[in-house]
């Protein structure tokens, strides 16, 4: 068999192996919709909290977003069964960050020690950590930029005044949740269109 193989054939085989391994890894990246969903949830909570002025708006919106994310993830898993180590690592980072935020904000809210400075600082730091960890696993520079934006938002929340903090927070949500999520979804659609074909 070796005698019949040209150098071009051999290179094609190597390229096919590399493409398929990369394709399997890329399958973990189709999570843009989660960023968009949570970005919208933050906006709903902020606007709802401002209009209704009820302390229950935030926890109710966050719990609803949690349930909705869980249902949609379960539906997608039922639709396509695949499991990667990278996917599980990224999932673990976000689940751990989510649990941490839930516990901290529930405790701060119950104790009455929460204000806008603390909320944005903690949220920014946690989202910065999760985005940075995910970016390092995926080697995705754009997501690391999002992490830097969240960290900057957290630092600003420690020093800034209430109104500028709100503006910075809303901007960070728009850039790092909605815009980034839409970009990730767009990239996923584009990748599906250009998927490779291998025949026997």
């Amino acid at each position: 068999m070796s005698d019949q193989m040209s150098s071009q054939d051999l290179k094609e085989r190597i390229a096919l192996i590399e493409d398929m391994i990369a394709e399997a890894r890329r399958s973990t990246e189709s999570w843009g919709w989660v960023f968009v969903l949570w970005g919208v949830a933050y906006y709903v909570a902020i606007l709802g909290g401002g209009i209704i002025r009820n302390p229950m708006v935030w926890p109710l919106t966050m719990i609803s977003a949690c349930v909705l994310t869980g249902v949609l993830v379960a539906m997608r898993k039922g639709h396509s069964h695949r499991n990667t180590t990278i996917g599980r690592a990224i999932g673990s980072v976000w689940i751990a960050a989510g649990i941490s935020m839930f516990i901290v904000f529930l405790s701060l809210g119950t104790s009455g020690r929460i204000d806008q400075h603390i909320m944005v600082a903690v949220l920014g730091a946690m989202l910065g950590s999760a985005n940075a960890a995910s970016a390092m696993i995926l080697k995705w520079k754009l997501q690391f930029v999002c992490a830097v934006v969240w960290w900057a938002c957290a630092v600003f929340a420690c020093f800034g005044k209430t109104t500028p903090i709100t503006i910075v927070f809303l901007t960070a949500i728009f850039l790092c949740q909605i815009l980034f999520g839409l970009y990730a979804m767009m990239m996923d659609v584009r990748r599906r269109r250009h998927r490779g074909v291998a025949h026997a």
Partner: protein, 100 residues
């Protein structure tokens, strides 16, 4: 002159090579996902997967999810080793092709 390595004929088929490479970067994958990623037909993919299964390179778990049959494939340890050996042989052949 050192003897050139032989390429494993079970792995050498393009579709079988694609499937093994996909499974290498993933823990387990459903038949439909493999079909989507390789762009092959049900019949062709099924036949190639059977060859890989008979060689002991992939393991299959068949189950029912919401009353629908589902086949989940994963690469075995010998499949991993065989693919690593195949890549090594490819590199050796490429090296000899360049020096020739």
């Amino acid at each position: 002159m050192p003897e050139l390595p032989e390429l494993n004929p079970v792995i050498h088929g393009k579709l079988r090579l694609a499937v093994l490479s996909l499974l290498l970067g993933i823990e387990q994958a459903e038949f439909t996902w493999l079909r989507e990623k390789t762009g092959s037909t049900d019949g062709n993919l099924g036949a190639q997967l059977l060859k890989l299964e008979e060689a002991g390179y992939v393991a299959v778990e068949k189950k029912f999810v919401m009353r629908k049959p589902q086949s989940v494939y994963r690469i075995t340890e010998s499949g991993r080793q065989a693919l690593a050996d195949y890549v090594q042989a490819l590199k050796q052949l490429l090296g000899s092709a360049i020096t020739a």
